[in-house]
Symmetry: D2
Subunit: 389 residues, 4 copies
């Protein structure tokens, strides 16, 4: 048992959870974006906030950028700035949905000039990867249609394939393309990459550096997400996660807040499929917005939630599970899983943090640090960052 705990702690230390720069800015719904005091005005301030999350959790050493929201003149300098805060630059997220030209699509637009503009932006993102040392280009397309007949579904796939091929060809040897899918929104009738199958089919044709990203909020009701995770791991095509949670649509709530048991089941499949091994290349990223709660504590809590689900998954007695499964013992196999889930892992995680030289209670430690009050005082004037238009 002592060995087990040591093994589990060692495994936990290999897991890194990336926070997104946009989580630190203002966000909201189409109805209203609520402004918060202390919200960053610059990419640098976002990085400083992300560093706080790493400081108290010890497992969030990278921050994802979003272009053009995080556009700067000197990306090398930005990476150095991050390094000075103990962080590295994570995935580069392309944005081809917030220009009036993209009303009817970006890389799938019927107008070739718009497609060219969108492709140029994607290629610019690879330049930024070169400059920042980022490994992953994360692609999410808002492209789709709102009305039946609005555009040709199949022609849009052809255009998408052409753009992806051009970007893939531009990738360096250690760089990857992570293709994300989403059921709906902002497109309402068709979405050009609506499900894992579509993303997978494109990745297959592109090559091994193209991988699928599972955003936990992007599925139809009733979809078994952990099944998809298991399948993509089996196919060697799980590039990573965009973690968040939802009750109904793509609500971008804190991961684990809506259905902690689902998050545990997902992490169980990750562990089962070898996805926790850093060599598997699975990127654990958050993609959330904090509309009504403060942003930095919201990120800390989210990182802790992923870690909590991971340790519960590591606690599953794999031998007992396999034995029960093999013998057709439905209740017994389920009980093995539930035993791990029902365990209160907070003491174990507090121990681990103490061993890492961290405060056992990251939420309390951050609250006591005075950082929130400091940025509220200092960050006055300027335009607050937001992921909205």
């Amino acid at each position: 048992m002592a060995t087990d705990i040591a093994r589990i702690k060692a495994a936990l230390l290999t897991q890194h959870i990336e926070t997104p720069s946009w989580a630190y800015g203002n966000s909201g719904t189409r109805f209203k974006v609520f402004a918060r005091p202390g919200v960053p005005r610059t990419p640098q301030e976002k990085i400083a906030d992300a560093a706080q999350v790493h400081r108290y959790t010890g497992i969030a050493p990278s921050v994802a950028l979003h272009i053009p929201w995080d556009r700067v003149d000197d990306y090398g300098a930005l990476a150095a700035y991050a390094a000075g805060h103990g962080l590295r630059i994570g995935a580069i997220n392309a944005n081809v949905f917030q220009d009036d030209d993209y009303m009817l699509g970006s890389v799938t637009n019927p107008d070739p000039a718009v497609r060219r503009k969108a492709l140029d932006h994607l290629l610019e993102c690879v330049d930024i990867m070169d400059a920042t040392g980022s490994r992953d280009l994360k692609l999410w397309f808002a492209d789709g249609t709102n009305y039946p007949g609005q555009d040709d579904v199949r022609a849009r796939q052809d255009r998408l394939a052409e753009a992806l091929a051009a970007v893939y060809g531009r990738l360096g040897g250690d760089q990857r393309m992570l293709l994300e899918y989403k059921l709906f929104e902002p497109a309402f009738y068709t979405t050009d990459v609506p499900d894992w199958g579509t993303a997978y089919a494109h990745c297959l044709k592109l090559g091994p550096k193209a991988q699928v990203v599972v955003d936990t909020g992007h599925h139809a009701p009733g979809t078994n997400i952990e099944f998809i995770v298991a399948l993509l791991l089996r196919e060697g095509r799980l590039g990573g996660f965009d973690f968040n949670s939802r009750f109904y649509a793509d609500d971008d709530l804190m991961v684990g807040a809506a259905d902690p048991f689902q998050l545990f089941r997902i992490m169980h499949e990750v562990v089962r499929g070898g996805g926790l091994d850093p060599a598997a290349g699975v990127a654990f990223m958050l993609d959330q917005c904090h509309n009504v709660e403060p942003k930095i504590p919201g990120q800390i809590r989210s990182v802790l939630n992923v870690q909590q689900a991971t340790v519960k998954a590591l606690l599953v007695d794999a031998d007992a599970l396999r034995a029960a499964q093999q013998s057709g013992d439905v209740l017994g196999a389920n009980a093995v899983l539930m035993d791990a889930y029902d365990t209160d892992v907070r003491p174990l995680l507090a121990d681990l943090r103490a061993e890492m030289g961290l405060d056992p209670d990251p939420m309390a430690a951050y609250a006591a640090s005075g950082y929130a009050e400091k940025i509220e005082t200092e960050r006055v004037g300027g335009a607050q960052a937001g992921w909205g238009a």
Copy 2:
């Protein structure tokens, strides 16, 4: 048969479809609001646009206002302006979701000062009804919570009931309160009025002037909307519709665009339950946004879609239907309904328009009118209207 057609045409002439002022402004999703040339800058320009819809359809003689988006100094003058364009002011829509104070709710907010502010706004809306001669106060609350535990579900109902009672007490003798429900968004975990049952329970306690509004886009997947319509008509509590359509969430697409058969079934229950009789007081209102299509033609098409579904519902052979239902003839009863639905009613509607002195093809007539080009030229400068924050 000739008599039937005459009866149907007479019934159609009693149906008025109200367009919303906000449909003429810019709108979009949380990802992006796309700007359009020619979009109104003032409530007056919105009314002028609404008048175009009535001009070509002949059945859209009122326009709903949204406060504060349509706030003016002199509401009597605004009503006169509308009258000068052949329109009257329809429902007054309260907005208690776009102020930073409302982040955690308006009338259900835990803070009594915020609740008071929200209530004052609702009462102001009744003042505007007095000044404009509007009959209906339409209430939709964005109130709810994003996280389990965030607030006390039951206390919020108490606060809601208190505010509704205060507003109800302020209504004049001919004024009504229309209470709308919505499954989710912008609140993600609980919504304080999430379903027709909640709206109905509150209306029952308030009195006969409180009625439920069915927004066709506000239900969970799999919900049978026409059943709710039939039930509310049976209870005498169907105040009206907010028409739109959707494929997944509250997409605000043109009514009838996503599922024209559903719209027909809804209108069938309206006809069956006596809701087409003006004495029933059912308000047929559009509540849509045109994100990627032009606004005025989008409204014209929507009005025509409701009319088309209505005429099909009127074509149902009620005697044959009843006979088949009574005899347990499942296929026969279904066939009676489908016969009406499968009929091409466009010739009948073109005839009706000719008799009304209108162009038989409203979409073509509007396109040929030059109005779109005119407003694109004239409406330069100023701030375009939009329903977003």
Copy 3:
């Protein structure tokens, strides 16, 4: 804290969870019902099995009957038989869906002769209540239609109201009618009691002895069940629960198996709304089928799952929660709830069982008892019970 634990244990001892006689029979899907050795052939054998669940959990002292599946000549004798096994007869469940006459409905059938037959069955169930001392008549209607137009939605409501009124008038002073709703299945287009609003509207008209039953598996995707629970408690109309769980449709899985966090949130609203007080009259009933797992252990596990969620709900620090809610501390309020949920309550429950003179591990104790082997040996020949046609 010691006081708290004592209070919690006392509260837990007042909670009784009723198991359904049909859970002990064979069940399945429309595709296949799998037969199990040892399954009961008679109502008496079902009661004997239910007694096992009470024996090991100590909190399941009643068993619900289903008529006609549990039809016997002498109901008084059956109640005495149950008493001899330490049980009382719980709710009487009417069944008006398994006769060829009911193909197009029972109490809502267009044919008055079929309606009369169905009503007679409901009245027979009240006779059985009289004979067995049962308090609750549980009504679930499979009635509805499969195709648009098949029957008149509104007329079916009239017929339903008429039947309910006749049954209500027959109830004794201490008897109640529990009306259940269900979104869909076996009817596919309309269901005559599809949602809590419809059940509530009928109960209101009937009187205080008519109460709504929440079956946790009977809602549309995205429905917030705990909100409905809170609302019905506020209205004094929550008659009880039919517990089970599901991933997609009405899957009748073990309660708490699909979403234990949801079950906790439901129990939190029960506790918050005073529903755990026996005086509130909330019946905690299981309504499940065990298709691929053994039946008695499936019931034991389900009872334990409800108890586990209840104790977690009792652990919520109500004062801290209220304070955080009042101050608008979104993350703090959520954390209070999650602290209770994340607690491992198995030791506390093991203690409680020891104090009750029970084995701390009911699943293991039942497995070791030899009862399963005994019934497999003894129950040979005869027709196994099943809830199917």
Copy 4:
């Protein structure tokens, strides 16, 4: 225009719609299977009924078999019997879900002996294809799990892949394997082939004779089925359809009954993607059950509904549509589609039937034929066919 009509009629004549033998037997839900007079007792009687559908529609010249439901001693004789009725044998449907051994899965069962038994059944189905001249083996697996942990998700994929490969290797040169997917039911937690992506991934590895079948009732809410159709046609992997319709789950209602506009959009993508060309190999099959309506008229109506959607899709003005799409005219492009949909195509289809020497009104002609009365009189005694266990 005359040319267009001629072209459309010619295209319609190439479309064959296959009816399933099980549609003629009794069916129902897990709650009840209602018995009907006149229902077939043998495969031969089912074929005779299927011949009626072809007789009145002229476009249903084949009938699918279901093994073991349609097991006979001499399949060659059965094919000859069908030929004598003007029919050929269509797809062979394997059934590995109705044996007690399959409780925990068939080809994915943890027990290798059960897997072997299931595989043997699949290979037997290929033997039957050889004997009957059938081209297509349709595989739908009920395999999955009900509870988290019950079995190893990934290992089940390995077992599935192994079985599929064995069957694929046994196929003759002109034979195909059609792999069907289904979101849920009868498995409730995981389904081993839950979506098109999973089916597609397996087909890719097997080879060109493995194709995906789209059952229109097997998707999560909000899924855009026509998008999947367009995608699979683009990939050359659309093997065919199992047509039916539903409001909520896999309801097996008559195709086009729940959402005729969706069926039209599906057929629009079929036409757009070349799937109507017989060379494309897309099999148009019905997979429905008639629970509350008579079976033969239910099939006739379903065949007509597919034909009606097809002719509307053929009426779409492809040039006008492309022009509107290319110019970004959202409303215009949508209007082109709606113009075709709003057309009353019943006169055109009546003409076509007259030209084919058929009665213009197949439903009325069948009703007048006396066949229903005849089989009710003749088919007395014996065991009625049913798709249930």
